[in-house]
């Protein structure tokens, strides 16, 4: 009865009653499928007027990322609102609908020798809307930057159904506030992104990947080598350290491994690889891959870690979690070491990697729920001691109640609440999904 008034908002075939609740939460009693910006606007206007809560989803890979509300009134799905609106090849810009997967974008742009320089996981499932809303990133942010460096404009449907444009379609623009930034990483709590314009890059003419594998106890050598390359004039695209358990899955060797990518003209890549070869520390194993082989390696890299797209029933022994950790660049190695040590103490298995040039690490955890909770708390305390932060990017719903997903509330929380109130006064959008229960 409650939802009889929903009929008429969208055609009947776009509305589905949701009988089951996903184990990761962030679900909705009624699933409403948007095919257009107008559909999004209609659903939100309705929800705003009727004070219904709305969760937003598209690829669903981030369903386990934040959220203390198991079921909203409406689950607004953008998964079918996809496609390229405009690709201006000469301007290196792309305007795209939010439900387009990163893979779809990559394939289309490759036909023109271009790319969106984002190397996030699960590209065939994760949509650009979700990647932007969650501010996801990969190892190559070292050189190419993250979403905030690539988004130049958006169209946003505000909570009352208004459509507001931010930024524009040109690569350089300082007219008004840089409102784009507010929506990147806001977890859909300020509005529904209905269109995104991105800055593109040409595809590199040549790709190389150098792997350095360090035997047990070689952390000091990794640190010294990393400092040396960062202080050189080399231009690595990634400088990602893999912990031994993750490296074993990637390479077959259980060693701390440094993945150094170079993407440039062939001669420049070769020159940099020569530099690496000349500086390889004694005891470290060194191998080099090029082009297709390098691309395949990174493709494999992007398919690790839990993924909320799957609606698997987890039993207690194989509960999965994922963390994003921010730290000073050179604390990355320490954090990887600490994460490994604590995994033994808390009886969980972990795989981890982190960028020594950009300060973001990822830890994937598997184990008993109570052990995962104690592990995260212990790791968080170590990271915060080094002034970093830990965010849980994947946790089953019931565990999100036990571990604070976002960590401490920042001292300027009142500003965040003020912004939320300005954009979504009735708090209908992704309620309790973000920092401090925003």
């Amino acid at each position: 009865m409650i939802y009889s008034d929903i009929e008429g908002v969208l055609p009947a075939e776009q509305i589905k009653h949701n009988a089951k609740c996903h184990s990761l939460g962030n679900d909705g009693n009624q699933i409403m499928e948007a095919y257009s910006e107008e559909d999004i606007s209609k659903v939100l206007s309705f929800a705003y007027q009727q004070s219904k809560t709305v969760n937003i989803i598209s690829g669903g890979t981030k369903r386990g990322y934040g959220g203390e509300l198991e079921q909203a009134d409406i689950l607004l799905s953008l998964g079918n609102y996809k496609g390229i609106v405009e690709h201006s090849v000469g301007d290196l810009t792309l305007t795209v609908k939010p439900g387009t997967t990163l893979r779809e974008i990559t394939e289309e742009l490759a036909k023109h020798g271009q790319q969106v320089a984002i190397d996030t996981p699960w590209p065939e499932l994760a949509t650009i809307g979700g990647i932007i809303a969650a501010n996801d990133s990969g190892p190559k942010r070292l050189l190419y930057g993250s979403a905030r460096d690539l988004v130049i404009g958006t169209r946003i449907v505000y909570s009352d159904g208004r459509i507001i444009r931010t930024g524009g379609k040109v690569v350089k623009n300082v007219a008004g506030y840089d409102m784009n930034k507010l929506f990147i990483g806001s977890m859909g709590t300020l509005g529904v992104v209905s269109e995104i314009t991105l800055k593109l890059r040409p595809l590199p003419s040549f790709e190389g990947l150098s792997l350095l594998q360090f035997p047990q106890g070689g952390q000091q050598a990794i640190r010294e080598f990393s400092m040396q390359i960062l202080d050189s004039m080399m231009e690595p695209v990634s400088l990602e350290i893999l912990n031994p358990s993750f490296a074993e899955k990637m390479t077959g060797n259980r060693d701390y491994t440094l993945a150094i990518a170079f993407e440039d003209r062939k001669k420049a890549v070769q020159e940099q690889e020569k530099w690496v070869k000349n500086h390889v520390p004694i005891d470290a194993k060194h191998c080099v891959m090029h082009e297709e082989q390098a691309r395949r390696w990174w493709e494999k890299f992007r398919h690790f870690g839990p993924n909320g797209h799957n609606d698997e029933e987890y039993n207690d022994s194989n509960t999965q979690a994922a963390l994003k950790i921010g730290s000073n660049n050179f604390d990355v190695l320490i954090i990887l070491e600490v994460s490994e040590r604590l995994s033994k103490e808390h009886q969980v298995t972990t795989e981890a990697h982190g960028g020594v040039g950009h300060g973001i690490s990822r830890v994937f955890i598997e184990g008993l729920p109570e052990n995962i909770v104690s592990y995260i708390k212990a790791l968080r305390s170590e990271v915060e001691r080094r002034h970093g932060y830990v965010v849980c990017t994947h946790l089953p719903f019931k565990l999100r109640k036990l571990v604070c997903v976002w960590g401490e509330i920042p001292p300027y929380f009142a500003l965040l609440e003020g912004i939320k109130h300005t954009n979504d006064p009735n708090r209908i959008l992704n309620r309790q999904r973000f920092v401090g229960g925003i």
Binding site: V89, G90, D91, L92, G145, S146, D149, Y158, I164, T166, G168, K169, V170, V171, K172, N173, V174, A175, G176, Y177, D178, M179, N180, K181, L182, I184, G185, S186, R201, P202, L203, S205, L230, M233, M234, E235, R265, K267, A268, Q270, E271, G326, S327, N329, G357, H358, G359, I360, G388, Y389, W406, P410, Y412, F413, L415, L416, G418, I419, T422, N423
Partner: protein
Amino acid sequence: MFGKKRQKQKPDDAVIQQLMQIVGDSEVLYLKEDLIAYECDGYTLSKGMPKAVIFVKSTKQVSDVVKYLNTVGIPYIARGAGTGLSGGATPLGGEVIISLVRMKRMLHLDLKNRKAVVEPGYINLKLTQSISDKGYYYAPDPSSQYACTIGGNVNENSGGAHCLKYGVTTNHILGLEFVLPSGDVIELGEEGIPDRPGYDLLGLLTGSEGTLGIVTKITVKILKNPEGKKTVLAYYDDIGDASQAVSDIIAAGIIPAALEMMDSIAIEGVESAAYPVGHPRDIAAFLLIEVDGIDAGIEDQIDEILTVCKNNNVREIKVAKDEEERGLWWANRKMGFGAMGAISPDYLVQDGVIPRTRLPEVLAKISEISKKYELRIANIFHAGDGNLHPLILFDASIPGESERASKAGSECLKVCADVGGSITGEHGVGIEKSAEMRFIFTDEEMTAQTNIRAVFNPEDLLNPGKLFPQPGRCVEIKREITKVVVS
């Protein structure tokens, strides 16, 4: 028109006295003759007399001053070196200017983690100079970098010639400390660690033109110098060919560090100024193209650039033979705006952005505007990223010319907006372009922005009247513009 305000500027004015209590007697200017230099910033077409100028030395002083001014309801403006080009630091009349030029120290340098912490009054070029011996630099390089402050750069989200490859200020800011209009001190991006949980206030503050808070400390990213660098100068008889070459270079998969263009009138200016290169006077345009990166990869890119330029009917093309020649070419280019003084009594610089593929048609329209208003328009562009700087030349002593220049400038921006571009790429909106915001944003979209301002600056005492069109007041300012002489 300032008679009434002059009355208030007596040394026994209670507000001035209180400000002196907070920052010290010698740190407050209040006499009209001392305040004249603060009537405007680098945008000289609009002027207003401040109530006082105070020089702060610490975050606490900023906070104390702001708290006090809130209690008496007096508006205030933060100011750095005053090199802004849109009137962002220009008073409308009666504001207290909080000058940050004495907060000019580098507080911390961390080469290992590639970051530096500076106070807002720290000069842009000084940062690069102070780390260049270690092989590092700070990327954003506005033409005024020898004078402008990093605090000002943050507020304007400044660009520069090399932002095509390296991005603008916002891409290089890791952390900020700022004072809210409430007086509260906020720290964002502590230790420069990226992606801290919460809305990206760092991104919002950068480019907010001093309307959301007063920046008191900045953590910036520093970069390692590129291994190699090559610079090319290409002369064209036809500006359309030069424009096409710009698009073709980008389409060839090259991202130059800089890709600049100047037309014949601009060339006439720079050749008459301090750093003449000896460019032929009869060319239609030149391109200044710089490629940097790993040495081994540069030669191929230069070869491709030479091919593209030749395919587009270049008259003459050359690669800088040494650092000295490269330096001269850049000095000549960076003199661009100032050089207009050599060929015209006054000029007005605009800052439109367009999709770079629309360059030829936009140039044709700017040429029509020039004819319509009977004013010469020189063009200097960051062509690679579609950022145009039409320089409208006029003589303010001729009745009506200032007004025509202002109208011509606004029309140039309309052309940019109409092809899907923006009214400003790096100079900011300030006072100058607040009316033109309507070219690209609806009232609803601007309200979405002013609502955000209200979260930070609810009383609108911090830099009021900037960025957004204000009915009535805006008309007055435009009227005022036509009265003022620039040189």
